[in-house]
Amino acid sequence: EAAPKSLREGKWIPVACWGDCGSKGFNKVYVVDGVITRSGTDDTITDSPTCPQLRSCAKGRAQRNRILAPDRLKYPMKRKHWAPGGGEKELRGRDGWVRISWDEALDILASEIKRVVGKYGNTAVYMPSSATGTGTYTEVERALKLYGGFITDWASCSSGTWTATGPAIGLPRSRSGTGEDLNDGFDLANAQLIVLWASNPAWSRAGKPVYALLQAKKAGARFVVVDPFFHPTAAAMGVSTDDWLPIRPATDHALVLGMMHTLLVEDDPVSSPLVNWEFLHKYTVGFDRDHMPAGADAKENLKDYVLGTYDGQPKSAEWAAEICGVPPERIRALARLIATTQRVTVIMSPAPARVNDAQSWPQVITALGAMTGHFGTPGNCVGSDAGHAWLMEGPELVKGGTWIGRPSDFPDRPRVVNPVRIAVNRNELWDAVLTGKYTAGKDDVRDINIQMMYFGKASRLNQIPGAVKGIQAFRKVEFVASQDMFMTPHCAFSDLVLPITSRWERFGEVSTSFRDSLLWTSQAIEPLFESKDDIWVARELAVRLGVDPDVVQPYSSKQDIFNQVAAARVISDDGTTYEPLVTITQADIDKLGVVGTPQQGRIGFWEFKEKGIYHFPRKPGDKFGHIVLKDFVDDPREHPLASPSGKIEIHCQTLADKIEAVGFSKIRPIPAYTPPTEGYEDTFSDWDKKVKGEYPLQLLNLHVPRRAHSNFDNTRWLQEAFPNLAMMNPLDAAERGLRNGDTVVIRSRHGKVLTRVAIYETIRPGVVGMGQGAWIDWDDELGLDRGGCTNILCGAIPTGEGHQGWNSCNVQVEKWTGKPLQPDHKRPLRVIEG
């Protein structure tokens, strides 16, 4: 009898995982006769807490089930009732599909681009910015740039208000460029107290980061949790719910002000030193009237604002408690605990910065860190994780590719400039399509006429707020084209859909994981069905548009990957300079048939390719650690910050001016509290009398283990393990007569969704917790989404720096009296045979 296939002789091949999840594990697959039989993870090194294997998460281990799924797009398709100019546009999203050849598909794409550009100009063509998410490359953008360009969009999404506010107040640009920064992972073990503030890496940064936290727990750190949700990270860190401050979403700023007030009124230099005045005076400006930046109004200081000196409203713990829902005695206790503990690490996700009008949030939390002196020394830092380097901060120890393997970003390819310089804020994108207007700056609203949308990447329909308007926008323009692996929501509302290969079907990629490992993943299988990679699509499109395909992509894939491997760098023993990582011989170059130069590195070319991973060896106390603001704190004269004062700007005119120039709202130079649009206060129709309004609950938009944004939502194994649901507290559920598993309709000012409710004591009352990224399953008859997409509920509300405010959204929940929803894994996959 033949051995089972999984045991037959095959070969392990390192393969990509590219979902922009905020983490990155290592995956490999076992291939027997061209067929993947099972997958595995990192076993290239002996596992230890200081040098752990880079193990993948549930998504990584379900990747095979995703890539080899029956709902992969198989052939190019056009919408049944499509015609040049749109045809029956209102049928987008519910029309049938017709299988076509690649030639016909590319001809349609090119001719519609030519038609729209000919009729309206290049400013009528829209393509999304940021390449994260779908895993597609950006070559189609290069083709369109060569053809005269297109308009695009802008916003801060992941990092929220840290993007503009962090650098403005003087925080150094970390790897994310946003001013978000934390200490090196090893330094966690130096903290006596770790505050997890809106931070649940068990869900949002699966894999290595939470294992680093576990080492801090084992070293004896006490954990405190500030979050509307007592999450799995809290549970695994052994936190008692007595150490959980169940805060309302979008009210973090008020809590911090209440803590500051406590510190100010209870501070006594002799009997109870709570405020680190020395730190404030040496390293900051704007905290009190005697330490203001040049030219500032002395009354406009944070201390007098907190004490209510001029506005008559002390921002006391009682004032804060009314807003944030944490009792005043617990606000005071947390303030004292942070102030009186020597080594405190406050870790937060950017979630509190993804709130409407939250542009002063990074400033106020940084001010709290300064007030308590928790910066610049081991065990101390107060900040947000740097987007995609979670708890693994500091300069890269290895460099190469990018963190999601995006060769298009690689610097050796000539840059192609977009001749069109128009970008619409994402909060206004669908409105811009529908109304023909967008905001270009302060008092500057301009006309725009978007008639074509081309999604070569980025799931805009599903992944930005205001999706009901998005659907209308999709049905308004003359042409929509998408390329993807699956019938994603934006594909479903397109006229033309092109099937794209997964990265397991491509030549390979080089990408970093955290700061200390570099991955080189390779092709495991041939392209499925008729799918093609984006580079091929872009070159074919270029030919049809009459632009040079060799400018679109100048190298073969083999040369491209070789260039990336050759360019990979590793930090030198001096801890500051970099040297080549990979040893390449002339024989290697000849064998590959590429252009290159031999070099000496630390790992051989073929060894790296076979293993697929290079681990930079670390040990505690080595010279590769990182402490936020250490140079500045050690010597502020020698290492001033990039702000005008050279210090942390608690009064920051630069920020106030910047926000005003954007054109959506105004702020004060000090971090005064602005009630967020659709925050907690807006759940009331009468705040003073405490009368609740039509939308009395707050939506908490969570990263869930099922998905990386919208990626993996259609993966059966993950659907079964992590059903989509709305978490509600038993008090709210009882008030509405809801039982576990009931189908509910959730309404906001912007749209309606159906989902199933799960009753959790671990989510605070007044809050509905839902995972972001569920695919829109729009029901035209009912006018609602059966998929449970939170962007149907969230409004696209431009405020502050034009960031996206997903955690400020008011909702109401009711039991659904129609047909109950099936569990996700029992609903049909979007299998389209054409």
């Binding site: 990584g60 990270t233 695994a236 719910t241 598993g741 605070r764």
Partner: protein, 204 residues
């Protein structure tokens, strides 16, 4: 007698279900067949005090289980076809797919709900501790993939020497019932006496 066993650290499991996915992948399991399963168990309630909603005794933790390769396995005893067998050499309980008639008695008898019917082949599937991988010097897939290093396997006596001899945690039945080959580190909070329930929607 040799007895292979599981260790599980409930005090640091994050419920990420990587073990479940690794099991699915290694054993090529379709939806509906979960040979390893992570469940969330929790409880407590909320009270309003001084106008503020406050948690009272709220707790939560995760339990990852598969077949416990019990020392007194009821699945073996009830199987009318003699398909369910406990191996002499290591105490691993396996199902002989040639003999299995898919009657489901074993699943009904198992207090851990471990054997599962494969809806395509109509025979029972169950965890065999990845014996084919172990034969090749690999660890069971769930153990090798756990991002928190919460899972371990080995000889029962060795695991007990290393991790203690607790074999019961809510919502699992008392270890007295089937003598599971299982060692668990309970979470710090709460005490197990606190009333709770399985939270997962799929399992409710």
């Amino acid at each position: 007698m040799k007895q292979k066993a599981w260790y599980f650290d409930a005090s640091s499991c994050i419920g990420c279900k990587t073990c479940e996915m690794a099991c699915k992948d290694t054993n090529d399991l379709q939806v509906g067949v979960r040979l390893r399963r992570v469940r969330e168990y929790g409880g407590g309630h909320w009270i309003v005090r001084n106008g503020f909603e406050q948690p009272a005794g709220v707790f939560t933790y995760f339990v990852s289980t598969s077949c416990m390769h019990c020392q007194e396995p009821p699945c073996v005893n009830v199987c009318p076809a003699g398909a369910m067998q406990k191996r002499e050499e290591d105490g691993i309980v396996v199902v002989d797919s040639e003999k299995c008639i898919g009657c489901g008695y074993c699943q009904w008898a198992c207090p851990y709900d471990a054997p599962r019917l494969d809806p395509t082949t109509h025979i029972m599937r169950k965890c065999d501790m990845c014996i084919d991988l172990q034969d090749r010097g690999e660890k069971p897939a769930c153990v090798a993939n756990c991002p928190m290093r919460c899972l371990d396997f080995g000889e029962l006596e060795e695991l007990r020497a290393k991790y203690g001899d607790v074999d019961t945690i809510m919502p699992l039945p008392s270890g007295d019932v089937t003598k599971p080959s299982f060692v668990v580190t309970p979470p710090k909070y709460p005490s197990q006496s606190a009333g709770g329930r399985i939270r997962d929607l799929m399992e409710a």
